[in-house]
Amino acid sequence: MAAPCVFWGAAVSHRLFLGGRISLALRQGVWKAAAAELQVGTGILRLRHTTGVTAKKNVAALRRETYTVDFIKKQIEEFNIGKRHLANMMGEDPETFTQEDIDRAIAYLFPSGLFEKQARPIMKHPEQIFPKQRAIQWGEDGRPFHFLFYTGKQSYYSLMHEAYGKLLDVEKRQNQLQAKGLFSEKTKTKDLIGSRWLIKEELEEMLVEKLSDQDYAQFIRLLERLLTVECSAEEEEFVQRFRRSVTVQSRKQLIEPLQYDGQGMAFSTSEGKRKSAKAEAVVYEHGSGRIKVNGIDYLLYFPVTQDREQLMFPFHFLDRLGKHDVTCTVSGGGRSSQAGAIRLAMAKALCSFVTEEEVEWMRQAGLLTADPRVRERKKPGQEGARRKFTWKKR
């Protein structure tokens, strides 16, 4: 995956900075590499395939590239100046120019047709672009600053040390209270819902240090143990630093408004797509379970039982098999994708007749998600999308 390309304008000349790894295509005369220290080796690095999550957080790979603190400070200044220039260019107020505005402005000024979102031009604060680095950890005489330096994972062990210290404090306090007889049972479980522990990658990023799975597990166990005993406000705050909130519903489903036709019967319309078939369904509130597709009865339009089972799925799931009348139009695709498109359209239309909870159940059953599968492209040198030509030994 290509590294993100970062732009910021400075008066007349444009300077392109190639952060992280150098990508192949941008070695043209217009773009000058910013500083010699950023050139990694000679020539072009082979692109390494890493997943999107860890692309910027791969701390180990950047051992060769070290950004000095001065350099980072200079980048931040340049970023701010560039932000103000951009705001002036767009005609907005430089004081109240947020990151979203920057993103919109860049997308407008440099429209890109690339499919990979991370390959498009971006302009972000240097903190988010340059991976966090550790300053030199020993002084001029060679003595390390931190007392746990020689463990290898100094920040991790210091964190464990701190947490365990807090645990011991709490237990000591509890023992004192018990001795005095003022021990009160109070358990609180409020914070656990709606939040989750940090994942290992996030912890690594926080500590700027590589961890192993066992280290991570140990740390989480310690924090959970801290939670079980009753602790004061500052310990709570300490633990909360390591929790992230989780949205209960990943996305709110759009519920179509109900419309009323001439006779006063309520109905709702919605669309659905599958592969290259598009369907639009109108579901009436009271009916006897008749379905008409393009004016033809669904039994005649879909002679195959499998397609009719697809149509049955939303109604059967909500137990409303004979209660609604549907009229739909569909075009494109084949028989199976038309059935899938109608199913999606009907499920979306049914949302307006159904309670919120049932909408959530439908979403979890996958009735409201458009199927993203499309036909994969055939590649040259292969017979199909995946099938290779027959291999002949000689």
Partner: protein, 357 residues
């Protein structure tokens, strides 16, 4: 006995009295009758069901009841009335026809049943130029099969009816005037080359004699739209054969014309075996074409539609009683609703679905 959903009306006399209150109930046809009336002429899925359940049960439905009502009130002095059963695929036209045939057989009519006219216009192995008329073509195989079935169905009439003319088959054989019709049939079965002509003779005799009133004639043809459609048969020189050029088709067309009296004609349209017709066509206009429609005009159309809710319930009960539905959800309400949705109350589809359960 009529109170239960699936009642078994066993006695023969009561079978004649099917009224509207019996709609939705099943009734049993004894296997003996089955072999006489329908030798090889039931739809294949139904005959499989008969074999499985070892009993033949038909549901009494509105179109059949309507037809029976008309039949009971026909005036045999008027020219024969034509009834055309039409409907979408799988709604039960053929079985309604079978119901009517069974009824008429119990009333002692003479049954002229063509199980599927489409079989005569496609995939015929042997086509011979006709001995009677040089321009037409014979189909000895189909004709002899039909004669055998005819003989099985109408045994007792074959000795009663006497031919009106003398027919010469070839140099050595001929049938004298006044000999029983059975002889003509035997001739056709034995001498396969003359089978088609024998069929033609039989049809002509029956047509002529039914007006005399000795017996009542029921002409039942399934898939009558084959008579006016196209064929897939080719001559040796690869030229297409039109339906008129087939002797069997020609004779049958004459039979279906309403220029005789003393009986009725009941016809069924069928898209399933038809050639070159779109799948969704079911109206008489579409399936018969202009020629056929004009030839059959005037006729009484009877629409056969999907099951009503009551009939659907009754059908499911019948399957349950015969332990045909083994799925544990089949007898619950939700299971029935699912089946109703999936088959949309179409009898054919329902039968196919239940076969999987």
């Amino acid at each position: 006995a009529m109170l239960t959903r699936t009642s078994r009306l066993v006695s023969g006399a009561r079978r004649a009295r099917h009224g509207e209150q019996h709609e939705g109930l099943h009734y049993n046809i004894p296997l003996q009758d089955m072999r006489t009336l329908f030798p090889h002429s039931l739809p294949p899925r139904f005959s499989m069901q008969v074999k499985t359940f070892s009993e033949a049960c038909l549901m009494v439905r509105k179109p059949a009841l309507e037809l029976l009502h008309y039949l009971k009130n026909t005036n045999f002095a008027h020219p024969a009335v034509r009834y055309v059963l039409y409907g979408e695929k799988g709604t039960g036209k053929t079985l309604s026809l079978c119901h009517v045939i069974h009824f008429c057989a119990k009333q002692d009519w003479l049954i002229l049943h063509v199980p599927d006219a489409h079989l005569w216009v496609k995939s015929c192995r042997s086509l011979l130029p006709s001995t009677y008329n040089k321009q037409r073509l014979d189909q000895p195989a189909e004709a002899s099969i039909w004669l055998k079935n005819f003989k099985t169905t109408n045994e007792r009439f074959l000795s009663q009816i006497k031919v009106q003319e003398k027919y010469v088959w070839n140099k050595r054989e001929s049938t004298e005037k006044g000999s029983p019709l059975g002889e003509v049939v035997e001739q056709g079965i034995m001498r396969v080359k003359n089978a088609t002509d024998a069929v033609g003779v039989v049809l002509r005799e029956l047509k002529g004699q039914s007006s005399l009133g000795g017996f009542r004639l029921l002409v039942a043809v399934d898939g009558v739209n084959a008579l006016w459609g196209k064929t897939t048969l080719k001559r040796e020189d690869k030229s297409l054969v039109a339906p008129e050029e087939l002797a069997l088709v020609h004779n049958l067309r004459k039979m279906v014309k309403n220029d005789w009296h003393g009986g009725t004609i009941v016809l069924t349209l069928s898209q399933t075996g038809s050639l070159f017709k779109p799948r969704k066509a079911y109206l008489p206009q579409e399936l018969l074409g202009k020629e056929g429609f004009d030839a059959l005009d005037p006729f009484i159309p009877i629409l056969v539609s999907n099951y009503s809710p009551k009939e659907f319930e009754s059908c499911i009960q019948y399957y349950l009683e015969n332990s045909w539905l083994q799925h544990e959800k089949a007898h619950t309400e939700e299971g029935k609703k699912e089946l109703l949705f999936l088959s949309n109350a179409n009898p054919g589809q329902l039968e196919r679905l239940c076969a999987h359960l």
